[in-house]
C-alpha cells in the first residue's frame, strides 16, 4: 500500500506543490493587506463600502484584522480550487483503468479495495498538506507582518476552517471516486464532478437570495461550510463536519462496492 500511495503522491506532487505555493502566497498577501488596513484603522470604512453579496460571503471578516487574514480558507476561488484538486485526485482510479495501469498493478497480489483505499489516503494526505501549508503561510505572515497590538485570529477558528476545507475536499474527492467506479476514462469521472462542484457552489450561494433554491442547498457540500458563520461563532460546526464526513463515508462505501464488482 505504501508503494502505491508513494507513487500516487509523486504523480500529483507537482500539482500539489504548485497549488500550495499559490494558496500560501494568497494567505501571505491577505495578511499584508489586512496589516495595511489595520495600520490605517480603515476596517470600518471598508465594511461600510461592501455590497450585500460580499457582506454575506465574508460576514464580519472584512471588518477586522483577524477576520481578513482567514478569508483565504473560505473564499470562493480558493474553496473551488481545493474542490477541483480533490476531484482530480478522486478520478485517479478511472485514470488507472484508462491507461491500463490496473492491468500491470492488479495482476500482482493486491486486493482490489486498495485501489480505493490508496486514493482516499492520497486525498487525505494531499488535502491536509495543502491546508496545513495554508495555515503555516497565515502564521508566518502574521509573525512577519502583523502590526503590534493587532488581534490575531484564534487558532481554534483557523483549525475549524481548515477542518471544513479538508472535509469539503474529501466529500468531492470521494464523490469522484464513486463516479470513477463506473468510468473507463478519467474524464468521465472528473468532468461531471468538476461541473457539479461549480453548480453546487452557485446553488448554495444564490440560494440566499432565491428561495427556489433553498430545498437544493442542503445537497451542496458548500452549504455545510459557512466560513463567516464559523468566524462569528454561529456555525454548528460539529453538525456540519458530521454531514460532510457522512457524505464522504457514503461516497467511499459506494466506491468500494462498485470497484469490488466492476471489470477493471
Amino acid at each position: 500500500m505504501l508503494t502505491l500511495v508513494a507513487r500516487s503522491l509523486r504523480r500529483i506532487g507537482p500539482v500539489c506543490l504548485g497549488l500550495a505555493a499559490v494558496l500560501t502566497s494568497f494567505q501571505l498577501t491577505l495578511v499584508a493587506v489586512a496589516a495595511s488596513y489595520e495600520r490605517d484603522g480603515s476596517f470600518d470604512r471598508l465594511a461600510s463600502m461592501l455590497p450585500a453579496v460580499a457582506r454575506y460571503a465574508f460576514g464580519t471578516a472584512m471588518s477586522s484584522f483577524a477576520g481578513m487574514t482567514t478569508i483565504g480558507f473560505y473564499e470562493t476561488g480558493i474553496i473551488l480550487l481545493v474542490a477541483q484538486f480533490a476531484i482530480f485526485i478522486g478520478a485517479e482510479p478511472a485514470g488507472d483503468v484508462d491507461a491500463g495501469i490496473v492491468d500491470i498493478v492488479y495482476a500482482r497480489p493486491l486486493p482490489r479495495h486498495w485501489l480505493v483505499t490508496r486514493t482516499l489516503l492520497v486525498l487525505t494526505i494531499a488535502l491536509l498538506a495543502l491546508t496545513l501549508t495554508m495555515g503555516a503561510g497565515t502564521w508566518i505572515g502574521l509573525l512577519m507582518m502583523a502590526p503590534p497590538g493587532s488581534r490575531w485570529p484564534e487558532p481554534r477558528i483557523v483549525l475549524t476552517l481548515m477542518a471544513h476545507l479538508v472535509m469539503v475536499g474529501c466529500c468531492f474527492g470521494a464523490a469522484t471516486l464513486a463516479a470513477a467506479g463506473w468510468a473507463r476514462r478519467r474524464a468521465e469521472a472528473q468532468a461531471p464532478l468538476a461541473l457539479a462542484a461549480i453548480a453546487l457552489y452557485l446553488i448554495d450561494f444564490l440560494g440566499v437570495w432565491w428561495r427556489g433554491l433553498w430545498p437544493l442547498q442542503r445537497f451542496s457540500p458548500f452549504h455545510f461550510y459557512q466560513g463567516s458563520a464559523i468566524l462569528e461563532g454561529r456555525a454548528n460546526t460539529a453538525f456540519d463536519l458530521s454531514v460532510l464526513g457522512a457524505a464522504t463515508a457514503v461516497a467511499s462505501a459506494i466506491a468500494y462496492w462498485q470497484f469490488s464488482r466492476r471489470d477493471l
Binding site: T3, L4, D103, I104, P109, D263, L264
Partner: protein, 302 residues
Amino acid sequence: MDATALRIDGLTKYYGPVIGVETLSLDVPAGAVFGFLGANGAGKTTTIRLLLDLLRPTSGSASILGFDCRRESLEVRRRVGYLPSEMPFYPDQTGAGYLKFLSALGQQPVSNARLEFLFKRFDMSELDLRRRMRDYSHGMKRKIGIVQALMSDAPVLILDEPTSGLDPLMIEAFCETIDELARAGRTTIFLSSHVLSEVDRVCDRIALIRNGRLVAVRTMSELRLETPRRVTVLFSRPVDAFVSLAPGVTIVTREPQRWVVEARGPLGGLITALAHLPVADISIAAFGLEEAILHLFEGRAC
C-alpha cells in the same frame, strides 16, 4: 504440483450483447508451454484478463494451480507472472524504477542474479534502465514487460502477445528463455500470439479460439499428425497403373510422371506403397502451423 496447472470450465464473458468468450473450457497441464491462438478480437485477452480477475465472468470458472481465479484471486496472482498485450507505464519513471516499483508490489523477493541474467539476455544496459519510460521505444518497453513478467520466477507465466514489437534477435532471446523454462519443467506458460513461427518453436500444445468460442485444442504432435502433408512424387518413367495408396492418402494431381498427394498421419504407409514404383524423387512439404490452423478452422474440430 497438480497435473493440471490451469483449468477453465465453461468460462463465459459477455460485454452487453457482445460475446467476449463463451463456454470456454480447457486444461493446461503443469509444465506445458501452451499457445492460445486466435484472430484479433477472438477473446484471447478477455480470457487472460478473466484468469487474473481483472474481468468478472458472466458465468463459468477458472483455476490456476488449484486456486479459483475469482474467489482466491490473490493466491492465483501470487503465483503468476503476467505480461499484458500493451505495456502500461508511468512516463516519469525510469526503467529501473518501474521494475523496482513492480517488484515491491509483487510482495515476493526478486533476486538480483535473476534480474542481471534477464538484463543480459534481453540486452538491457544500465544506461537503458536509467532512462525514463516515456523515452523508450516500443521494443524497449516490451523488453521491460518481459523482464517484469519473468523476474519473480513465478510457477505460471501468462504472456499476451509477448514478442510484438521485438526485433528478431530479441524474439530469439525470448524463445530461448521459454525453451529453458520448459526444459526445467517448473513453469507452466500460457501465451497468446499471432506469430505462428514463434508458437511452433516454443509451444508443445495449442488452443484455437474464434469469436469467443474454442475451436480446437491439440498437442503439436497431434497437429503434425492430423494436418495433411503435401507429398510430390516424381517417377523415372510414366506410371499409368492404378495403385492403391495407404489409408489417409489422397491424390491431388496425377500426371504420368508426377503425382501430388496429401497424406495424413505417419508417412510410413505411403513410402511402403511407393516402394515398388519407379520413384525418382520425393519432396515432402514441411509442416506449417499456419496451414494446420487453417485446416482446423475449416474443420472446426474440437
